[in-house]
Amino acid sequence: MTTLALMYDRIRWEEKVLTKTAEAGGLNVNRVDAKTVSLDSDWSIEETREKFGDIVLQRCISYFRGLHTTAFLESKGLNVINSMDVTLTCGNKLLTTLKLEKAKVPTPRTLLSFTEDSALKSLQILGYPAVLKPVTGSWGRLVVQLKDKDTAQAMLEMRSRMEGSLNQIFYIQEMVERPPRDIRTIVAGDHIIAALYRYAPEGEWRTNISTGGKGEICKVTGELEDVVLRAAETVGGGLLGVDAMESPEGILVHEVNNTVEFKGAASVCDVDIPGAIIEYILKQARR
């Protein structure tokens, strides 16, 4: 029997439903709490497989925890979904932007600075309004709109006074003229499992479900499919949450999530999302 190691640090609704679906699909599930492991560089490939399983689904909420456990398990020969390369790219918005840009996948124009002063210069080049984001982070956290120079100065000062070297990286993006919604697609390999619009709630401009965004079913057009699947392929493929926006020039991809949450999507889409995810994992396990 194939064992699926489900690496986690917190069990959300997603991890519970994935466990149940995997078991129903004939997999033995070994849930591993990343907070309890002592990974040993001396372990052999066989030992590692014995302790964890035949294939690994990475579900850590902490990005760095996920990245490091994936690096370890992958180097010990286990197939981890998603791979370490994909994780590295998707966990950093700049690395994602650069890959998308290089592959000519439409993505918002982005400027990068490392001090308050140079960030203001970047804003002068880009113009207002603009968007400031942490390169690593999620759920819309600290993603702020810079409407004018005054707001920008205040936000940049606050960010530069925050602790942590990641906070000293200023990733500044053009504000895309989109409707008050974006599009979350869930991708498994070379197809889109589900797509939904996420509408920003009253008094909020971000559309994240975690900030109160409301999902609504989204029909996948040829353009959306083309752009999203090219974005997924460009970052290395796997099980991904590819987020897109409708700009006046067409569909843009603004980020790719590598431990995608799908509770919001499951509540509005008719498709069996956990079923499709497990099917993808089974296919990978058989390879």
Binding site: R12, K16, I61, G137, L166
Partner: protein
């Protein structure tokens, strides 16, 4: 608390709103420990 509660799940105290992580599921009830607080690298 859900009927199918598992180790690693987060339960919130209905009185004070504090999050706890289930550390053991016993025949009757569960053991809990304080949950981790959100880190800046948390997310999808």
């Amino acid at each position: 608390m859900p009927d199918d509660v598992v180790v690693g799940e987060i339960i919130t105290c209905p009185d004070c709103g504090t999050d706890f992580e289930v550390s053991e599921v016993k025949e009757k009830g569960v053991s809990i420990k304080p949950a981790e607080t959100v880190g800046e690298d948390w997310g999808e």
